[in-house]
């Protein structure tokens, strides 16, 4: 991890404001256009490849062709996606929102440009071939990509990378849901993880631009429209809370299913490049029976809010099939998001809940709409960990206050339970498995993410067991330290000497008589957080860092180094969160 030097602002306040506004507008325009192009591209592929139900129904008279396309398109598409990911994406996995979060939080360097483009292209292809994956993850990553490009212009504004990426993500979400407020909040809630005045302005501008492009200039259709005349019985809010709890269970099952399937896929022995093809083949087979599992399932999403559109039995089977193929597609490496499918699964489950209420006829209720919407939000929120943004998405999509209030109840209960059972979001759990654990808090996550080797010293005095303590004390005083490392033969550390152990002894005392046989040592895999904790629990002031393979000394780290690293990160985050424009 690079050392962060907080430089004074280079520009006057008005210039900074102007620059930030230009950044917001520029990123907003580019991301909006690309996001719309992204939609158009996979829509077009859906039509050409007979995934789109409108095209399929016109071929109802040619069942053989239709069946061939149903199985063939996802299979061949999967093969192509697999090869793109394997050969052109350096991480050899599709890139998504978790990479965005990591990039913004750690201020690391972005994935190679080519990898990002290839991953986005693979996502278009996956969606175009009917893979059961989401469109929003790749869109978020598209926003990240554009934000990173603008950041590389070196405008010399502190913390610009996070601002640019957040603006890109805000615009992408704004376009995707026709929801500018949700886009702005999503960028803060999921990506930035804090609210600062400085990031607020450009993300809001970018989100508004996204809305203008999607809604005013291109007049894109909303995700769905609903008719809802209000919650009729007060006890229904209890049912919304129940849906929240069920939604949490569904979300946790879904997220764990994806993780399990990913680990199964990597143990399965199927080469990375061929995994999506296998998923595509199975998806195609399932789709022969249930064509509605193909693709993003726009139509099913809309039907779910229509009472009586599904029989309860077929709805149950459709839900199970959709969960199965989605976990399979995501686990086996199709490029795409986790959010789109869980929206659909959630809304179908909500519709099922409403349908069962209807069938039981025990109590009066306000129709299937609020249950479907609550189900959707309750299931989707824990997966992406954005309760505020979700509530706003409902509000902006439906413009209905009653529905939003109902969804809010479901979201809150769902989030409470799921965060206890699973974690804040699937992204955070994925990142934690990669060593970046945001559940510890931003400061601790950052400390725990950096390897202790990043702050280790490689120039230091080396002491031997036969050295005399007089000489040792002199040398330590000379470099202003009170502790040092003692190295044995074959260059392995054998102990630590502290000046405090030498006081009151004759200077000719041999080091081996006063040294602490060293019991605390770090390796490359020790992170700064662990080092900090180890120092805190011992009275050592220095520790050796050894190669985990050879046990040879790589360098040393002082307690003060670790503490100043901690201070530095804490300062940086404090500054980021409270920085004025």
């Amino acid at each position: 991890m690079k050392r962060i030097n907080i430089k004074p602002d280079l520009y006057s306040v008005p210039t900074t404001i102007l620059l930030l506004a230009i950044v917001g507008v520029g990123i907003g325009i580019v991301v909006s256009l690309l996001a719309i192009a992204f939609y158009e591209a996979f829509d077009w592929l859906n039509k050409e490849f007979l995934i789109d139900p409108h095209e399929r129904i016109q071929l109802a008279n040619k069942p053989l062709l239709l069946s061939l396309a149903t199985v063939g398109v996802p299979t061949v598409g999967g093969l192509l996606v697999g090869f793109i990911i394997y050969y052109f994406v350096s991480a050899r996995r599709p890139l998504g929102p978790s990479d965005t979060i990591l990039l913004v939080q750690t201020r690391g360097s972005p994935q190679p440009f080519g990898s990002s483009i290839a991953s986005t292209f693979a996502a278009v292809l996956s969606l175009g071939c009917g893979a059961s994956v989401g469109q929003y993850g790749p869109l978020v990553y598209l926003g990240t990509l554009i934000g990173s490009i603008v950041n590389s212009l070196k405008l010399k504004i502190p913390n610009l990378q996070a601002i640019c990426i957040a603006s890109g993500v805000a615009a992408a979400i704004s376009v995707a849901f026709n929801a500018p407020i949700a886009g702005m909040v999503f960028a803060h809630e999921v990506i930035l993880r804090h609210f600062s005045v400085k990031a607020f302005a450009p993300t809001t501008v970018a989100a508004a631009i996204g809305f203008i492009f999607a809604n005013v200039i291109f007049d894109r259709p909303p995700l769905f429209l609903v008719v809802f005349e209000g919650v009729q019985y007060s006890y229904e809010f209890i049912l919304f809370a129940v849906i929240g709890i069920l939604g949490a269970l569904l979300a946790v099952g879904y997220a764990k299913g994806i993780l399990l399937c990913q680990s199964y896929a990597s143990r399965s022995g199927i080469p990375v490049a061929f995994r999506p093809m296998v998923a595509g083949l199975i998806l195609g087979m399932v789709a022969l029976q249930f064509p509605e599992v193909l693709g993003v399932g726009q139509e099913s999403l809309r039907f779910a809010t229509i009472g009586g559109a599904f029989e309860l039995g077929e709805l149950t089977i459709l839900i199970i099939a959709k969960i199965f193929v989605t976990i399979l597609c995501l686990g086996f490496g199709f490029a795409g998001g986790v959010f789109g499918p869980i929206l659909l699964i959630g809304i179908l489950c909500g519709a099922l809940f409403g349908g069962i209420l209807d069938q039981l006829q025990l109590i009066g209720h306000s129709g299937v709409v609020p249950y479907a919407i609550c189900g959707m939000m309750a299931a989707a929120t824990p997966v992406i960990g954005a309760p505020l943004a979700m509530i706003l998405i409902v509000f902006e999509l439906t413009r209905n206050y009653d529905l939003t209030t109902a969804a809010m109840v479901a979201v809150v209960f769902s989030n409470l339970l799921a965060s206890r059972m699973f974690g804040r979001s699937l992204f955070d759990v994925q990142l934690a498995s990669r060593g970046f654990d945001l559940s510890l808090g931003r400061v601790n996550a950052l400390i725990s993410y950096g390897s202790v080797t990043e702050i280790m010293r490689t120039e230091y005095p080396i002491f031997r067991t036969h050295d005399k303590i007089g000489k040792v004390a002199y040398q330590l005083a000379h470099i202003g330290r009170t502790a040092g490392i003692i190295v044995g033969t074959n260059e392995r550390p054998v102990g630590v000497v502290h000046v405090r152990d030498c006081t009151g002894r004759p200077p000719t005392t041999s080091l081996k008589d006063v040294m602490n046989p060293e019991t605390m040592r770090f390796s490359e895999s020790t992170n700064v957080g662990q080092a900090l904790e180890a120092f805190r629990q011992s009275d050592y002031e220095v520790a050796p860092i050894v190669s985990s393979k050879t046990q040879k000394l790589l360098g040393i780290v002082y307690e003060s180094d670790v503490i100043s690293k901690y201070r530095e990160i804490a300062d940086r985050i404090r500054q980021e969160e409270h920085e004025p424009i």
Binding site: H54, I57, A60, P221, L225, E299, F303, G307
Partner: protein, 363 residues
């Protein structure tokens, strides 16, 4: 340019050198009832007089089947056809209509070129829209003295509003109404109707009416069925219901919800015996004053601005293609602008589905 010189100019460019006297007859499709009557008064008669030609009205009830007469020896054929927008598009795709030469259209009285005067979307490859009308649901006032039906959903609600319903024996309009009855927003009707599940939902609504449907084939039938008490609700054309109510004191009311707005298009049959005369007729019938004359008799909307300016009052339920349909997205008084593109590409599956439904329900 006055009409005479326009026609002269028109006859020159069409290369017609015959005299009108022995033109014999022009075969034009007719929909019967109040509409045909209004057409006769507005332009059939005057065209006959001005051009010394007999107009023969041949009954037509929509669809493109009747246009394909090559297999029927002795079929008199057609010259001019008055078709729904979707039928006209389908007929055009099947090359049953001639390509329409829009230069024959007559300018507005103030000199505005016809292409500017007609509303956007009124001039097609194979014809020109001359009137906008709506399929609406009307009910017999006598059948519902207390609670009145007021939404499309009520049409399918046989329990609250018992009695027989009249529907066209063609898969049109009630598809959209079925969707509306599920509260599908107007802008998403065709998206959802393009899926198997969409058709299933329509079937479900029809199933609810099973045994209570009287199918009609000719445009004047719905009014007759309502007035003689055979049905309590009927789908039909707004102008005819208005006419029956206003001019003939028949006790029917139109449900304002779910107006299904379409265009009627003049086209010339590919094998027309008198294509030049047919083009002249279309130019004449779509001239500003003739078009306005029809809309002043019947609440069908004109398709050119200069004609709209000459209408006494927007009678009854007159639908206009210039209306903004997006503001009737949800709630009551929803209006649907027919997607004729969708109709033309789904021609065969719609009919296939409809036939299957009819057969499996013994209708």
């Amino acid at each position: 340019m006055n009409r005479f010189s326009s026609l002269l100019w028109l006859s020159l460019i069409l290369g017609s050198s015959t005299t009108w006297a022995d033109n014999g007859e022009l075969i034009i499709s007719g929909w019967g009832g109040a509409y045909e009557h209004a057409q006769t008064v507005s332009y059939f008669q005057s065209f006959e007089e001005e051009h010394d030609v007999r107009i023969k009205i041949r009954p037509y009830n929509g669809g493109i089947g009747p246009l394909d007469f090559l297999e029927h020896p002795g079929d008199p054929g057609w010259d001019v056809l008055d078709m729904t927008e979707s039928d006209a598009l389908a007929a055009c795709n099947e090359r049953l209509l001639k390509e329409f030469d829009k230069s024959v259209l007559i300018s507005a009285p103030d000199g505005t070129a016809a292409t500017k005067d007609f509303f956007d979307g009124a001039i097609f490859k194979c014809g020109v829209a001359h009137v906008s009308y709506a399929d609406v649901i009307a009910y017999d006032d006598r059948a519902f003295p207390n609670v009145k039906p007021n939404s499309v959903a009520d049409f399918f609600d046989i329990e609250r509003f018992p009695g027989k319903r009249a529907l066209p024996r063609r898969p049109i309009a009630f598809l959209e109404w079925a969707m509306l009855s599920y509260n599908v927003p107007v802008s998403q009707i065709y998206d959802l109707l393009s899926t198997e599940r969409g058709f299933k939902l329509v079937s479900k609504r029809l199933n609810q009416l099973k045994g209570n449907i009287v199918w009609w084939e000719q445009g004047h039938e719905p009014v007759d069925l309502l007035s003689n008490g055979e049905v309590v609700m009927a789908s039909g054309f707004n102008g005819r219901f208005d006419d029956a109510r206003v001019n003939h004191d028949i006790p029917i009311s139109i449900i304002p919800d779910g107006q299904f707005v379409q265009l009627s298009v003049w086209g010339i049959h590919r094998q027309a015996q008198r294509p030049d005369l047919a083009a002249q007729f279309i130019a004449f019938a779509t001239s500003t004053d003739r078009m306005a004359a029809l809309s002043n008799l019947l609440s069908y909307g004109p398709t050119r601005k200069s004609a709209l300016d000459r209408i006494y009052h927007y009678a009854g339920t007159m639908p206009l293609i210039t209306d903004n349909y997006s503001n009737t997205e949800l709630g009551f008084n929803r209006r649907i602008r027919a997607d004729s593109q969708w109709y033309s590409v789904t021609e065969s599956i719609r009919h296939q589905w409809f036939e299957e439904w009819l057969n499996s329900n013994g209708e």
